[in-house]
């Protein structure tokens, strides 16, 4: 039962996404192009943040601590 409501809710969320970005007025193949470009860039952002942000933060903290210790 819950899955039906969940699906409906997800469908409504997708509809909101279509309306807000203005994709609603485009033809289906243009919507697919935009969705693929958008979601691939979002995926790349997520991957980059997962792979690099901890390393960068650790290095930044190290250099900050060293700078504080030197003084």
């Amino acid at each position: 039962m819950d899955f039906k409501y969940l699906k409906e809710y997800l469908g409504w969320l997708y509809y909101q996404y279509l309306l807000i970005t203005g994709i609603y007025v485009l033809e289906p193949w243009e919507q697919s192009i935009f969705n693929s470009v958008f979601f691939s860039s979002v995926a790349m952002v997520i991957y980059t943040s997962y792979a690099f942000v901890p390393v960068h933060v650790r290095l930044a903290l190290n250099s900050l601590v060293q700078a504080l210790l030197c003084h």
């Binding site: 203005g22 994709i23 007025v25």
Partner: protein, 586 residues
Amino acid sequence: MARTTAPVPNGKLNIQLNGNNFKNANCKKNGYHNKAQKNSTAHSAGPPSSRQRFQRPESFENPPMYVAVMTYLGFGIVTLFGYFRDFLRAVGLEKCHIAREREEQKNESEVSFLNIPLAKPTRLVIQQFHLQDFVPLYQDFENFYTRNLYMRVRDNWNRPICSLPGPVFDVMERVSPDYNWTFSLTGKTIDDVINMGSYNYLGFAENDGDFLKTVADRTQQYGLGVCSTRQEMGNLAIHEELEQLVATFLGVESSMIFGMGFATNSMNIPALVGKGCLILSDELNHTSLILGARLSGATIWVFKHNNMQSLERLLREAVCSGQPRTHRPWRKVLIMVEGIYSMEGSVVRLPDIVALKKKYKAYLYLDEAHSIGAVGPTGRGVTELFGLDPSDIDVMMGTFTKSFGAAGGYIAGKKELVDYLRSHSHSAVYASAMSPPVTEQILRAMKCIMGLDGTTVGQARVHQLAENTRYFRSRLQEMGFIIYGNDDSPVVPILLYMPGKVVAFSRAMLKRKIGVVVVGFPATPITEARARFCLSAAHTKAMLDQVLFDLNELGDDLCLKFSRRKYSPRPQQHNNNDDTDFELDS
């Protein structure tokens, strides 16, 4: 610096000080308060009745910031896809549906035209002529917006209807196989769609045989067409009767009627003003007023919408510096405003404008296209709404298209003005006179409103419209939509902002059998797309409740309730009994 003169009394000294920075000063000059204010605050100048009127604020609420950002984002993405599709069309991967030039006209080749055997000098001349290209007929970028956005969603406009556009009507169903480039009618109709788009303010768009009996009689008597202009052989007795009635209705000396409302403005303003005159026109004036102003050749200065400080600044500038190069005084200064602005639903600040015009000796042209018949306790327009004397307004103009269910326009005022227009107006000399059935329709509608036909139907309709307006506006504000305009105006724009939502709204409302008009970019600013509801006295409370219920559901479904004001939900206090007293402040 020693002062040798006696100290001046306090009042005068104040004026001296404030004269230097009058923009920000809070001084009282000649009874006119010069406060810095926004459009929406209450104003306390003018006679007491107008002060009461101004207690009803006009709201132009701003949406949250993310709404504006998302609107621009939506337009940006669709523009990008527009460029992409234009590229595909230019390359040839996609068929171009709109009008374009023929290939032969774009680039003339010299070889094909030299097959004619001619003497040498003539051949050289022809050769040079044909080396030039033709000037392109179509500028492709100009209709970029039309091609790439409007065509995609064209099914929301120009829907064919197949019944009388009364409070309910029938819409013909159409489908499009190629994304709205072409349409085909399925043959089915969508019946009993509630009509929220027609300017049917008093419900005179009706085809009941009883009401239209006099129209049928007059058609028998006078025929259908006039086949002449007013000045030649088209001046019928029925026209004179209508002009007398319009003058009595408005409380002025004399009036003249014209066959077309748009032409009333665009053909008569050139007769009133010319070169060397100044026109001060409101920012949001209708195209007919702008066209008339441009055709006249007068200088046009635009003041911010309903903003009296802007208008006064321009008036002072006009009086002080005169015409642009010669600095002679202007021959005439004409202030052009409308009674109700149809895109915003705002009402003009008439008492302030009349006070300003008297102070600076300017003339006032009031276009009451939407407000005649629709506002005021007895339907006489904004003059009655504010309790002003009609002789204060120099030129009163209006149309019969909206509240009277006919077509045409009138100009009313002093007898000298109207007599002048009878001989000098382009419309009187060259345009066909009003057709007799239309004239009789206006006569019967006006007699009904004035009560001259012996019934109280007209008054009941005016009251019903006022009641519908107040009910609808208050319920919409409670629900949380952003509405523009004055609480008295029967034109209700609901702001939708994003292009996707505008389109989805219109389609969803038609699916629920409500016909609405949505307006987008060229007619409104780019971030303020809206749906415009025009209330009618013919709408019953059940219809309004149905519309409000659907609006509520759609507002939740499409997330349209942007208003950040808090309204307490009040109990049902509007009921079907006629205990309405619109004189009370709500």
